[in-house]
């Protein structure tokens, strides 16, 4: 058991490390002109020399990656225009365009992305499970057919089109304008500003959860213990929600975990169309200004999130399903 965990963890770390090396090579070692790119059109030779020295671009490739790694573990300093900028422990680089360490930029953006994704997850999980359970209870009726049919269609509509149309036609009319206020600062403004994003993300994803939980509920409602519960004379409501839902939701919860990990790195459309300053928009702005350190940092953070969530789910699964341990 312990060996399995260690092997999984080692493989996860190797994947993250490979992403680091590959993206570092892509951004700073490829036959491009990273200094010119980072420095921008109004580049002075002094500034270019500063950036080149700060990034250790003259050093051999391996040494550069070593410096970068050391920065992540122990922090490092950047010397720009004669002043020294501190870049604390998990130092993912320094954005010369924005004049701030990448870690800080990502730390600012992460709560926004987390708020969007988790709030959306609450919406799609509750709506999906509710509609799915209803459809499973009334299997074969018009209600079931409408639920399944509309979920298939909603699932097929391109997500960015939905976001775009909501942003253009619904915000400021039915929904409050999308904006981000910190939760600690003003919880009410936080919720109302993110409402549009939650509803869009939630309702589009609810479609697939309707189908998952419908299938899962149909299976669990067909079990013998449900028949036993019914024969004991328990009310139908209690049979469905106490006996059916509990067993039927376990597989659905796993999918939520995977979806959250995936969405944390894919809120690009939601954020940039609604104008919320999260991780996706940070990356997009970095693309537009060719801010390579920020691009590198966000790809790294994204892949770390994905790998870690996968690892956590795998480990949780070994507790839920003993058969996995053999693999």
């Amino acid at each position: 058991m312990l060996l399995y965990f260690l092997r999984r963890a080692a493989s996860a770390i190797s994947v993250i490390f490979a992403t680091l090396v590959a993206s570092y090579a892509l951004f700073l070692l490829a036959p491009t002109d990273p200094v010119g790119t980072i420095c921008g059109p109004k580049c002075t030779p002094d500034r270019a020399a500063d950036i080149s020295a700060a990034l250790h671009l003259e050093d051999p490739a391996l040494q550069q990656i070593g410096v970068y790694l050391k920065g992540i573990v122990a922090g490092r300093e950047y010397e720009i225009g004669g002043t020294v900028r501190e870049c604390d422990a998990p130092c993912l680089g320094y954005s010369f365009a924005l004049g701030r360490p990448v870690t800080e930029l990502i730390a600012d953006a992460l709560p926004v992305t987390l708020s969007i994704v988790l709030g959306g997850a609450v919406v799609y999980f509750s709506v999906g499970v509710l509609v799915g359970t209803l459809a499973a209870r009334h299997r074969g009726t018009t209600l079931d057919r409408v639920a399944v049919g509309s979920s298939l269609t909603i699932n097929s509509v391109p997500y960015f089109i939905v976001v775009l149309l909501v942003a253009l036609y619904a915000t400021n009319v039915v929904l409050p304008a999308a904006q981000y206020t910190s939760l600690l600062e003003n919880p009410l403004a936080w919720a109302s500003g993110l409402l549009a994003a939650w509803i869009t993300l939630g309702l589009t994803n609810a479609a697939s959860y309707t189908r998952y939980s419908r299938a899962s509920m149909i299976e669990s409602l067909g079990q013998d213990y449900v028949r036993t519960a019914r024969s004991k004379g328990i009310s139908e409501r209690r049979v469905v929600y106490r006996h059916g839902v509990r067993a039927g939701l376990t597989p659905v919860v796993t999918i939520v975990g995977l979806d959250i990990a995936y969405q944390l790195t894919n809120t690009l459309f939601t954020e940039s169309i609604f104008g919320l300053p999260g991780l996706g928009r940070l990356t997009l702005n970095a693309f537009n200004t060719y801010d390579l350190p920020v691009l590198l940092g966000s790809v790294l953070v994204g892949s770390t999130v994905l790998v870690t969530m996968n690892l956590i789910i795998d480990i949780l699964y070994t507790f839920l399903d003993p058969r996995v341990r053999l693999a």
């Binding site: 992403t19 059109p41 269609t153 097929s156 509509v157 775009l164 790195t265 459309f269 997009l284 996968n310």
Partner: protein, 337 residues
């Protein structure tokens, strides 16, 4: 694969027959391959046929775009500044000369841009599907059939690719690609950038797409390689590449067709979405994504400008996804209608 032949709906036997009698094979379906059975099922599926004709319609529009534009008498790049007022708004609506009206600001013909705009979406998505399917199938076959370090290495590469944040990666690659190919940022023309964007989009979509299929195929091969016909082929001394492509591949048609038909619409969505955000295709390529992106500033004054490409892409993607679902159902022996 036997259960398919026992399917009462296909053998033409009454569905109400007793369970025991259904297992007898009827002579009319013997010798039908899995693909043929799926095709027969698909032809009976009304939704699938409607979706297929919509998809064919869009493909024809893309193929005959120059002809359609000529029929209208316009082309997608000519500016009609005389049809745009001082504030950039078009002075004409749809008429016999400009079937969908003209663009705000530059006055290019909307219909011509719309028919040409179907092209990049379909070309990018189709090439990405073909490339990722080829890579996915080959890697999956080799990883599943080989044992030891080859399998471990390929599986690790699959895991690695799956854990890349695909959209962030899709943004990062074109940024680097332009400077790798043309050097410094200055002096790169719009056409050159647009070409690089086009090819790097195909590259990115194929690169993040192959790993899913490879993992699926590997799993299938792991179980197939223990079957008697593979053992027999090995004993007979059939060379490995022949076992892979002549013995294993024909048994993998169903997962491959299903996976690629479900992947195609997601590529179209990703392409258009990235283009709308300004990180996909770029001007002067006529593309639905670019039109949508430009039209968002005029959505109130000129809704037609926004809605033509929005409807084009939505209808195309919905039809492709529903067709993909229908193909999956047709290949799935458990589906009963």
């Amino acid at each position: 694969m036997e259960p398919l032949i026992d399917d009462p709906a296909l053998t033409g036997k009454p569905l109400s027959a007793e369970p025991g009698t259904v297992t007898k094979k009827s002579s009319s379906t013997q010798g039908k391959s899995l693909t043929q059975i799926a095709m027969a099922r698909l032809r009976k599926d009304k939704t699938a046929m409607v979706c297929l004709s919509i998809v064919v319609f869009f493909v024809l529009i893309a193929v005959f775009a120059p002809l359609l534009a000529k029929l209208e008498g316009q082309d997608p790049t000519t500016y009609h500044m005389d049809l745009v007022d001082d504030y950039g708004f078009p002075t004409i609506g749809p008429n016999s000369e400009h079937w969908f009206g003209v663009e705000p600001r530059l006055g290019r013909d909307n219909f011509a841009r719309w028919v040409y705009g179907a092209r990049p979406s379909l070309i990018v998505a189709a090439s990405a599907t073909v490339i990722s399917t080829l890579i996915g199938v080959v890697v999956g076959l080799v990883a599943g059939f080989a044992r030891g370090w080859v399998d471990r290495m390929l599986s690790w590469v699959i895991d690695f690719t799956l854990s890349l944040p695909s959209l962030l990666f899709a943004i990062a690659v074109p940024a680097v690609a332009v400077s790798v190919i043309y050097g410094a940022q200055e002096g790169v023309s719009a056409e050159q950038t647009s070409d690089v964007r086009f090819y790097s989009l195909i590259f990115v979509l194929s690169f993040v797409g192959w790993a899913n299929l490879a993992r699926l195929i590997r799993g299938e091969v792991l179980s197939l390689r223990e079957r008697e016909f593979i053992q027999a082929a090995r004993v007979l001394g059939v060379p490995t590449h022949k076992i892979l492509f002549k013995e294993l591949l024909p048994n993998l048609v169903a997962p491959i067709v299903v996976a690629s038909s479900l992947a195609l619409p997601t590529y179209i969505v990703t392409e258009a979405g990235l283009t709308v955000l300004g990180v996909g295709l770029s001007e002067p390529t006529p593309s639905w994504g670019l039109t949508i992106s430009a039209a968002t500033s005029y959505y109130r004054e000129d809704p037609l400008y926004l809605w033509i490409p929005v409807l084009g892409i939505t209808i195309l993607v919905i039809s492709l996804s529903l067709l993909g679902d229908a193909i999956r159902d047709a290949f799935d022996p458990r589906t009963r209608r």
